[in-house]
């Protein structure tokens, strides 16, 4: 079992971060994400909570032994479920791997909540676990590889999203200034 934990503050209000969520991809810093599809979405007519289920397509360069042993292909798919609650100003995003899931599960939870009117805290936890009694060194190796991939992608994701938020809101600010 591998765990990853991190927190980080974005210098943007919560609403800007949550609007920015839908603009994160495509992103040159996250070029492993090649497709994003919405497969389900609901707006709760009572609470205003928005639930979205998406499938992200990723190009993974798996070590050759993983491909041989587990039959993984170059394409990997991730299921992502997000909840945006304007009442409590909480956005939570759960992701899990669809590909290779018979061998190992990676479950990630991200949360965005306001720190102040202009700062948003990002919290991330992830658990990566080989699912069954694989030949031990293979299971350890698979876990380690998935954890490394995850950590690399998590870092990239953070800096990539920082760029998106800056660009998006600088652009809009400029447009606002010209319009006025």
């Amino acid at each position: 079992m591998h765990f990853v934990n991190q927190t980080f503050n974005y210098d943007h209000p919560w609403s800007h971060v949550v609007i920015g969520m839908w603009h994160k991809y495509p992103n040159p810093k996250c070029s492993h994400v090649i497709s994003v599809d919405v497969v389900d979405r609901s707006v709760d007519p009572k609470t205003g909570l928005i639930r979205t289920e998406r499938i992200l397509g990723c190009k993974q360069k798996a070590p050759i032994w993983i491909v041989k042993l587990f039959g993984g292909s170059e394409d990997a798919f991730v299921r992502e479920i997000s909840f945006i609650d304007p009442k409590t100003q909480n956005a939570t995003i759960i992701s899990e791997n669809l590909s290779l899931s018979q061998f190992a599960t990676g479950l990630e939870q991200i949360q965005y909540s306001p720190v102040s009117s202009h700062q948003t805290m990002f919290r991330q936890t992830a658990e990566i676990q080989a699912r069954m009694a694989l030949w031990r060194s293979a299971a350890d190796g698979l876990e380690r590889w998935l954890a490394q991939r995850f950590e690399q992608n998590a870092q990239l994701g953070k800096t990539a999203f920082t760029d998106v938020l800056r660009q998006l809101w600088e652009e809009r600010h400029m447009q606002g200034a010209t319009a006025a």
Binding site: W14, S15, V18, I19, W22, H23, Y25, P26, V33, I34, S35, V36, D37, V38, V39, R41, V43, D44, P45, K46, T47, G48, L49, I50, R51, E53, I55, G57, F77, R79, I81, F83, D85, P86, K87, T88, Q89, N90, T92, I94, E96, L98, S99, S101, Q109, Q111, S113, R123, T125
Partner: protein, 106 residues
């Protein structure tokens, strides 16, 4: 905006995404500010606003969603992802918001 996993769905997806984004950006800030109202007004105001906006979303983006969904369902099937998704939903539906991370750490 990111592409769909199937190139033929990408135009439909982008139309739907644009529709959602436009709706969402109008929805969010007023929805957040309801929490600043006096406590006794919040519930009714939120229910009225949520119902109105949920209907508006359906009215504005419903047709685009149906078109895009039809396309992407077919594409998922073609890649065998429909079964994987079904299986994953059976194991973990994630129908409601999970507990906040802070609470989990305790």
């Amino acid at each position: 905006m990111a592409d769909s996993l199937s190139p033929e769905c990408t135009p439909l997806k982008k139309e739907y995404d644009s529709c959602f984004n436009a709706w969402f950006e109008g929805y969010l800030e007023p929805a957040v500010s309801i929490s600043q109202l006096p406590a006794q007004q919040q519930r009714q105001t939120r229910e009225e606003y949520s119902r109105k906006k949920a209907e508006e979303f359906q009215r504005k983006c419903g047709k685009l969603w149906e078109a895009y969904r039809g396309c992407v369902q077919k594409a998922l099937k073609g890649k065998g992802l429909d079964k994987m998704l079904e299986q994953s939903r059976e194991e973990n539906a994630f129908n409601s918001m999970p507990p906040v991370i802070q609470d989990k750490a305790k």
